[in-house]
Symmetry: C2
Subunit: 411 residues, 2 copies
DNA sequence: CAGTAGGTCGGAAAGTTTCCTACTGCCGCA
DNA sequence: TGCGGCAGTAGGAAACTTTCCGACCTACTG
């Protein structure tokens, strides 16, 4: 059990104060007292220590209410950075977020198409966002800090950043810019260790991407299935907010599912949970895929139409009859998959994602109502604006960093 | 957050001591010191307080080692009782366990067959185990306590129990016998509130069983699906020990699955997770059942055999060719269901339960190896001796009681 | 005689309450 | 319209309380 020393109390209290500061944003002490339930003195002491350790900084004054101006405290966004990467078949995108979770830099590059090049491209994009943080947004940081009437730490920070040597960016951590975690979303089946790739839809020959990247990057690297990351994004910022159990179904190159159970992403024993594209279907032989780009294309050809899934969905949304028929057929299969998943885990909600898939929602609901009237699940479209995979990767990386920095600061 | 007062520390330490006492059984103080990592003084204080609150009692002396005899401390088994009930189609069984989790009393009755009678039968069986505790094992308690050289509390307890009025047993809690929770396993789909029944395989018209029982019993009542409870039993005492994610498949009246994810039972949004008997199968139309008693019977008839699933499995185990053929067909469908479940959540292990189902294991493994060679899951038989549902019910009830008593004692 | 269980005492650490000071906005009075 | 007091709030210091730990001491048994 090991629940011993009194120092534990300090950890608990400091953590409570830190969490409150982080979730509430710039906050005065009295509010923190109320939020944490701790006494004034304890909060003051904790803040003093956290201030000394550099996780918390003074963030302006509150002159709104009467009485003396209350100094506001906030977490130091520069306390640790996290990077999320989305590796798509034809493009690699990266974002760098600060400890507050705000996007600081973004970069994107086309893949060369060569399998061996993927790791290199990722490393380059990562280096790009880091350098962008080091050089460009320094001014932004200054203005931000100046508007908050705290000038000293700003200049300090800027000099620190500007003097950082650009050349060593890729091979060594830049002084003052601590990147604590890189999370990389890949269209592949990733083992639970976050390194090895078991099977891949769009990255042939990238089995050792994790190890390769770790040699190229001086930061801790974690691979993750792209759909899983999109599910995380939905959970935190999209349609899955506040929902304990939901399943994200992503229609695109293949059909993939991100399973969130009990508020946590469920990866499966070997990272293979959510491979629902291969669920049995009357129309397919055992082991065949129900719903991938190939299947959609085949259905389309049978109906005399051509195009990628996204194109077809867009044309269906525009009202084109034959494309609508394709969408209807896809929706039918999707409803079938949803029904099968519901029989196993009965989540509260299904989120349908992927380009142009809004057009599928209504037909899917109709099919479900007709085929499985007892089913009480909801079906919604994605609630994440922009690249859900990228955001999910950034969220996961950010959480890793946040957890590490916070526990470090309260131990 | 509310992590305020210093009293929290006492809670933590007391809880640590209590858990140690509970898991280690009768233990001396020095061992508790080592186990908890706390100081001698703190452990002594905590024990004193827990002793005063009645959760912990002195449980004999350790005269083995040299030096003065160490007084041993153990949790008081009479601190709270829990009852688990298994409602089968033709029989109702109940066990009463003490705070240590040991079985104290057991009773069983045939159901009258009338739907309205089920609640009544359950109430009677519950009353029976309670009265059995009150009257019979008092002597057992005495002997037990006497052997431990602690005479005072024993006599006290006995008089208390013996003077308890038998007549009020069903309508009011017996003085000195605190039954904290009754958990009832039913062959039905139970909503997550543990009260209402959504659909039932073997209990027609028992939709309000929960409410009925609550009026008949003076203890908190919780309903739960029988397969789910069996899964809990497997997790704690059976094949699922130490496995985070596994699925129990129970072949019998119908095919049901108990899904354990992250060490926790997953019920689904409306308690409908694990209804895998209706998963799509090439041989069945959408909505048909894959594998129930009826399906097994049908397969058997086609092969020219007759009998209940349990009988057929037993005959297959005995080597009867036609029964073996039936088992093979059932195993084939079971493997199909396992494959489908694995695609959704990919658990580490599948446990196959139900009377006589050991004969299915090998054929299921063969089918899986042939049809889905990439699948890395294990397939095992049940590891729970006796009635898994009953044990699961008792375990869940016991945990409720334990948690309540422990938190009460350390607050 | 040595090794161990149990108890007691003093010190240390942490948190809470209370009191005090300093500052600002608002209201009322001249 | 200008000015002074009142009220409300932030920040800090000191005293008190709770809790835990280490060390010393006693008692007991092989």
């Amino acid at each position: 059990m090991m629940a011993g020393p009194q120092a534990l109390l300090w950890s608990i209290n400091a953590r409570a104060v830190l969490e409150a500061v982080d979730t509430l944003g710039p906050t005065g002490r009295p509010e923190l007292v109320q939020e944490t339930g701790l006494s004034k003195t304890t909060v003051a002491q904790a803040l003093q220590e956290l201030l000394a350790r550099g996780v918390v900084r003074e963030a302006g004054l509150d002159t709104e209410r009467r009485g003396p101006a209350a100094t506001l405290y906030g977490t130091d966004p520069g306390g640790g950075y996290a990077i999320g990467v989305d590796v798509e078949v034809e493009r690699v995108t990266a974002v760098l977020v600060d400890l507050a979770g705000a996007e600081v830099a973004r970069a994107s590059r086309p893949t060369t198409g060569v399998a061996q090049g993927v790791a290199q491209v990722v490393a380059e994009v990562v280096a790009e966002v880091v350098s962008e943080l080091v050089t460009e947004p320094a001014t932004e940081l200054v203005t931000e800090l100046v508007t908050e009437l705290v000038t000293e730490p700003a200049t300090e920070l800027v000099t620190e950043l500007v003097t950082a040597p650009d050349a060593e960016l890729v091979t060594a951590p830049v002084d003052g810019v601590r990147v604590g975690q890189v999370v990389i979303g890949v269209p592949a089946l990733v083992a639970r260790d976050g390194r090895s790739i078991r099977a891949s839809r769009g990255l042939p020959g990238a089995a050792h991407l994790g190890a390769e990247l770790q040699t190229l990057l001086p930061y801790p690297v974690l691979l993750e299935n792209d759909v899983n990351l999109a599910a995380v994004a939905e959970q935190r910022r999209g349609a899955g907010r506040g929902v304990d159990d939901f399943v994200l179904l992503r229609v695109g190159t293949g059909l993939g599912a991100g399973v969130v159970i009990g508020g946590r992403l469920h990866r499966g024993f070997a990272g293979g949970a959510g491979e629902v594209g291969f669920l049995p279907h009357p129309a397919t032989a055992l082991g065949g895929e129900v719903l991938g780009a190939r299947q959609i294309g085949q259905v389309a050809r049978e109906l005399g139409v051509e195009g990628s899934p996204a194109e077809l969905f867009a044309r269906a949304a525009a009202g084109e009859a034959s494309a609508l028929a394709v969408a209807g057929a896809v929706a039918r299969r999707l409803a079938h998959v949803i029904g099968a998943i519901a029989l196993v885990i009965e989540p509260e909600l299904f989120v349908v994602g992927g380009p142009g898939t809004e057009v599928l929602l209504e037909p899917v609901r109709r099919h479900l109502a007709a085929d499985a009237p007892d089913l009480v699940v909801g079906v919604t479209g994605s609630g994440v604006p922009g690249d859900a995979v990228l955001q999910g990767a950034a969220l996961v990386a950010h959480e890793h960093v946040r957890e590490r920095v916070f526990t470090e600061a309260t131990t």
